[in-house]
């Protein structure tokens, strides 16, 4: 990575193991990669490969057993203030007693942002995700896709330098998923926020990323990094019919098949119902 610009996020020999009965189990074993400012990186890997564990270490939610995560040069020991986080479980990440706008401003108060500025940030973020008219609704009055847009708005209003997303679109239907992917790309292009996106969906990773980092089976290591040179702005139809898209998708898929091949993880291949996408894991 010597030719890259200085990294905003550096992951160095990161390992994470958990105590289990009769010893320890290793989820992540020596993962190293860098993320450049403004870069969109996807992490993909076979089922149970420790993607989420890895992301939780990056977010400062889990302490690594070995190695280090550095954000803008400083070691990450707890959730850093310049980091936004969007999880898969959108409905469980909302405070049900707060309306949509208050959910968006929820993390801002302790950041020391005044009430007026908070309201402005929320209004702007909700406008960007197309939910201005739902500001005074409760999150549970919205569909899953809309709730996930609220989660994205919350991350945006937080004005992060880096956005971590843990399979954020895994539990919405295929159509909504495509819309959310394009929304995310728009937001990313507008704000230039560095994004690390975990997914098990190979198509999604290639469609979104500048670079796809393929993780091996558990305990995960970096099996391969695939640079995606597809032109931007990308489009669900025209980008996906490019021969280069197909080539990259095949490359990622082959790597996953190699690292996951023969093990129990590979026998679980299953595409989500109603989707023609290729899934690295269910």
């Amino acid at each position: 990575m010597s030719s890259s610009p200085p990294a905003v996020l550096e992951v160095a020999s990161l390992a994470k193991s958990y105590p289990v009965r009769g010893g320890r189990t290793e989820a992540v074993a020596g993962v190293s990669f860098d993320v450049a400012p403004g870069e969109f990186v996807c992490l993909v890997g076979p089922s149970g490969c420790g993607k989420t564990t890895l992301l939780r270490c990056l977010a400062g939610l889990l302490a690594p057993s070995a190695g280090e995560v550095r954000l803008a040069g400083a070691p990450v020991r707890r959730p850093p203030p310049q980091m936004g986080f969007v999880s898969q479980d959108y409905s469980n990440s909302m405070l049900p007693w707060l309306k949509v706008d208050k959910n968006v401003t929820f993390p801002l108060r302790h950041k020391g942002i005044g009430a007026r500025r908070r309201a402005e940030l929320a209004a702007e973020a909700l406008r960007v995700v197309g939910l201005s008219e739902f500001a005074r609704h409760y999150p549970w009055q919205l569909s899953g896709g809309m709730q996930q847009r609220v989660a994205i708005a919350r991350a945006l209003a937080y004005q992060p330098e880096i956005l971590l997303m843990d399979e954020p679109f895994a539990s919405v239907d295929a159509q909504t998923r495509g819309e959310l992917e394009d929304l995310l790309l728009d937001v990313w292009a507008t704000y230039g926020v560095t994004t690390v996106f975990v997914t098990h969906d190979i198509d999604e990773s290639v469609y979104l990323a500048d670079r796809v980092i393929v993780l091996s089976r558990r305990p995960s290591t970096v099996a391969r990094q695939v640079t995606v040179g597809l032109p931007r702005p990308r489009d669900q139809i025209s980008t996906k019919e490019l021969p280069e898209f197909t080539r990259l998708r095949t490359e990622v898929m082959r790597t996953i098949a190699q690292v996951g091949g023969g093990g129990p993880a590979s026998s679980e291949h299953r595409a989500p119902p109603g989707s023609s996408r290729v899934a690295a894991s269910p």
Partner: protein
């Protein structure tokens, strides 16, 4: 160990049906008395009881008794809430505390409050202290369990989101755990309010502490039967008013909870 109680709402459309039900019961009771299906001496017609109630209303005695019963109710319920909410927050948040308290709770909870009356009289005499103790003991449990449940019902996803956005333990407690728990405590208060009234009246009836319960016994002993029934009706009306009030508070505080939600768009 956790009891969950979610309230049913009171739909407005059933108001008139409810009124019809009440009228049918009142008319039936009136007829039962008028046709002497029950001895009229011990079971006067509803209209006679109603007359006795009207006579009671302007007297200071009735309102003084209502005040004393409500005082026992309020002090007992307040004491119970003051102890149960912090304890519930503690044992709901701290797993070892939960395990340490569990055996004690499982032992104490099944004791009917009325079984404690003799001990309460020895400890506190026959006055307000005894009444408050009994009320507080009975009202303590539903509030405690609702508080524990409220703490534990905060989804791990919400707590993790709060953590990911840098909220420290204190901020997470104040802005995530506490609002969720207090809404559940409202349900506990409604349940305990009904129990508290029962215990207040019981303490007055059985031990003779001043209040509506003692007034009922006094009327019975003096063979003022319509007055006795009028006082019983007052306890019923009091219970209904308190329950309606707490329902309203609860509906406000818990409107976001799945059990209370009214409309969902998508």
């Amino acid at each position: 160990m956790v009891e969950v109680a979610h309230p049913g709402r009171w739909p407005r459309r059933s108001f008139w049906l409810g009124l019809v039900g009440v009228l049918v019961v009142l008319v039936t009771l009136e007829l039962v008395a008028r046709f002497e299906l029950l001895p009229a001496r011990w079971f006067p017609p509803v209209t006679v009881v109603f007359g006795a109630l009207i006579e009671l209303l302007p007297t200071g005695d009735l309102w003084a008794d209502v005040g004393r019963t409500l005082q026992g109710w309020a002090l007992g319920l307040g004491l119970a809430a003051g102890l149960a909410v912090p304890l519930g927050l503690l044992i709901g948040s701290v797993e070892p505390a939960y395990r340490a308290c569990r055996a004690v709770i499982e032992f104490l909870r099944p004791i009917p409050s009325v079984a404690l009356i003799p001990a309460a009289v020895l400890l506190f005499g026959i006055g307000t202290g005894m009444k408050v103790f009994l009320v507080a003991f009975a009202a303590f449990w539903p509030i405690l369990f609702q508080a524990v449940y409220g703490v534990q019902d905060v989804s791990p996803g919400v707590k993790e989101t709060a953590r990911a956005y840098g909220l420290g333990p204190l901020a997470r407690f104040g802005r995530v755990v506490l609002p969720s728990t207090l809404a559940y405590v409202a349900t506990g208060l409604r349940i305990s309010s009904a129990i508290a009234l029962i215990l207040a009246v019981t303490a007055e009836l059985v031990v003779g502490a001043a209040g509506l319960g003692r007034a009922i016994v006094t009327a019975q002993t003096a063979a003022q039967v319509p007055r006795m029934y009028a006082l019983i009706a007052v306890t019923g009306i009091l219970g209904w008013l308190l329950s309606t009030g707490f329902h309203a508070v609860e509906a406000r505080l818990l409107h976001w909870h799945p059990a209370q939600r009214k409309e969902v768009l998508a």
